[in-house]
Subunit: 209 residues, 4 copies
Amino acid sequence: MSPKKDLTEERKNQILDAAMKTFTEDGFHKTRMSDIAETSGLSKGSLYWYFDSKDSLIIHLLERIFEPEIKDIQTLLTDPRSIDERLETYVERISEDMVKMLKWMPLFYDFVALAFRQESVKNTISKYYQRHMDILTSLIKQGLDRGELHADSELEAAIAIGSMLEGTVILWFYDPDKIDIKRHVKTNLKLLLQGLKTPLNYQTLDQDN
Amino acid sequence: MSPKKDLTEERKNQILDAAMKTFTEDGFHKTRMSDIAETSGLSKGSLYWYFDSKDSLIIHLLERIFEPEIKDIQTLLTDPRSIDERLETYVERISEDMVKMLKWMPLFYDFVALAFRQESVKNTISKYYQRHMDILTSLIKQGLDRGELHADSELEAAIAIGSMLEGTVILWFYDPDKIDIKRHVKTNLKLLLQGLKTPLNYQTLDQDN
Amino acid sequence: MSPKKDLTEERKNQILDAAMKTFTEDGFHKTRMSDIAETSGLSKGSLYWYFDSKDSLIIHLLERIFEPEIKDIQTLLTDPRSIDERLETYVERISEDMVKMLKWMPLFYDFVALAFRQESVKNTISKYYQRHMDILTSLIKQGLDRGELHADSELEAAIAIGSMLEGTVILWFYDPDKIDIKRHVKTNLKLLLQGLKTPLNYQTLDQDN
Amino acid sequence: MSPKKDLTEERKNQILDAAMKTFTEDGFHKTRMSDIAETSGLSKGSLYWYFDSKDSLIIHLLERIFEPEIKDIQTLLTDPRSIDERLETYVERISEDMVKMLKWMPLFYDFVALAFRQESVKNTISKYYQRHMDILTSLIKQGLDRGELHADSELEAAIAIGSMLEGTVILWFYDPDKIDIKRHVKTNLKLLLQGLKTPLNYQTLDQDN
DNA sequence: CATGAATGAGCCTTCATTCAT
DNA sequence: GATGAATGAAGGCTCATTCAT
């Protein structure tokens, strides 16, 4: 009677959930399609009904990982507060997302490793990176335009903050016990802002001494 | 000492060279032991005479990758120059090493991905990271002790610089055309030093405004 | 009679048309039921409503291939012309049919190959072969009875002509550019008739010389 | 001590023997590589050490099937006997070979069916066909040149004999009980020779009547 | 009647590792 | 020490068939 509900999205999610879990636990290469089938509660054949191949799961998972991160952050561009307040909010939100995603790190690094040989993976990752950098760059440009920040270019400043964010996660990976991502990101930003709020000529003077 | 020993070292190097090349080009998982055998000019059987397994090559390669990085840097600890000059030299040398190692990045990220699942790989990577952080931390401690730098702790400052270094490489990976590692590392350090040279109470005051 | 029956026939034909096309183009083994479904414009489920299995399509297709060949030829048995005129007409018609069926050759040979393993396929093919040979044999028997032809038995002569017909198609398969089926069948028949019109004792005499 | 005998040929033969047997019994498509492995007494991996793929076995088997056929027949070209004696010897030898190969017929027809989709299979079959036809054509040309035979062209006559040979095997396939290949080939040749020994103008005259 | 999502047995091929020579 | 033939477990993917709707 019921008009046969479309289970496509549900099934795809079942599969992606299972893939995310098994890839994270066992690694992309060690995970077998039959593992994903079993974990998802579907048959091996069904996996291939909804997805083309094991590889194609990568792109879909990457989109899942990154998508939620982008939301909300854009609103900071029209936020009336000062630039450093907004940048603090920015890195706070990013680091919160990062912390939430920490458990998917093994998965993510499998994909980074794959990105070196698979253009499509590389492109997907780069696309999301670019979106973040665009927002960050716009934000900083506002600071420069208003004279709240000083830098040779908005890109250079964005790279400084971006590097710091990404790098903090790497350090966490090297030594999870010593690194508190949220706290260090906050501290690191403070140091960078100190530099970014210093007028350029003063910076140069200071260096020359 | 004995000529036999030398031949053994030579053979091991032949194999590791070949492994490094093929792993980098084709990825760890896609590379077959027969590829390494062929590239090294040895037989498959010989590979197993000198190394236990494909996995065991990983640790040996990691040591090869990191080993050259460490040397010379220690001397900075007794260098008579000011802290910020020495930190500049430090990040300059590190970024030079990084640039040299850029071609091994695919290999390295394969290993990072593996590190999540293989304790021994994780430990090897962490060990080298730790050595760097130790030097960096000592360096900064000198700066704090002499009043040249200001931070809540030497570790916190070291984390800031360390994150920035690692993160710059990540950004290069995301967008190799836009990121010039040596240049951005230098710029980023300048910003951080600005913060690190600002007395703590001034920092706080500044923030409150 | 009932309209339902007609729809059923229509559907079956849709399916058999599609199967014939796809089997011929891609081969029986490479063709998937979903290909046939798609080509026929029906669903996979419907295929199984009208046919039991992929294999069951074979027999139905064989009947389709052979059916048209039989008609009209029987009339030659009561044709008032001389035997060699009628045999000429016979091989002409057969070779015309063969030429028309050339495009189904790949399909047919798939089935011949299957016939070695599937009794039902073998029987279907043999049944149609037998019908042809029966007509040919009857025709020749008339020639022998009337003294127009000479052979140890009508079967032996029929085999000579039958082999020639089948064999010409094989040669066409081996070298399609050089073999013109209709022309060579005609020439070949002429040579055979020369032999069949020669009295037996003359044949023998001739040989002994 | 012994200089490690080269078992390559032996292994290849083991595999080809097993493939020939299983392909013939079960058909190319139904035969699994593991069946061949088991039958050959080797492991599945070894099959791939000696042969690239399941498909590559086809070509090697075809060469096995045809190769022995070619030998010896060439000597007929310089045989001093009359053409019809030599043609009789020719078809006798061919039909003997055919009879010996009858048990491989299922295998051969699998390959013929495959030839429609695989150029390499088609080429291999055609190559061997061509060799036979070349010999047959040369033989007949001698007959024409010496005036022992009469035909519009040596090719036309060769096609007549070739078709007859191939066709007789087909008829045997349709009805193995009734067809005695060696006997019918001999009879059929006799009929054709009758035609080939008749001068062309006589043939035409005869037809016109 | 019709659909197409779901199933799962099955297959070709790969490749790390071993070991007789 | 060195070789390379041999192994066999394992895995991604296919596809004929079924059946709930």
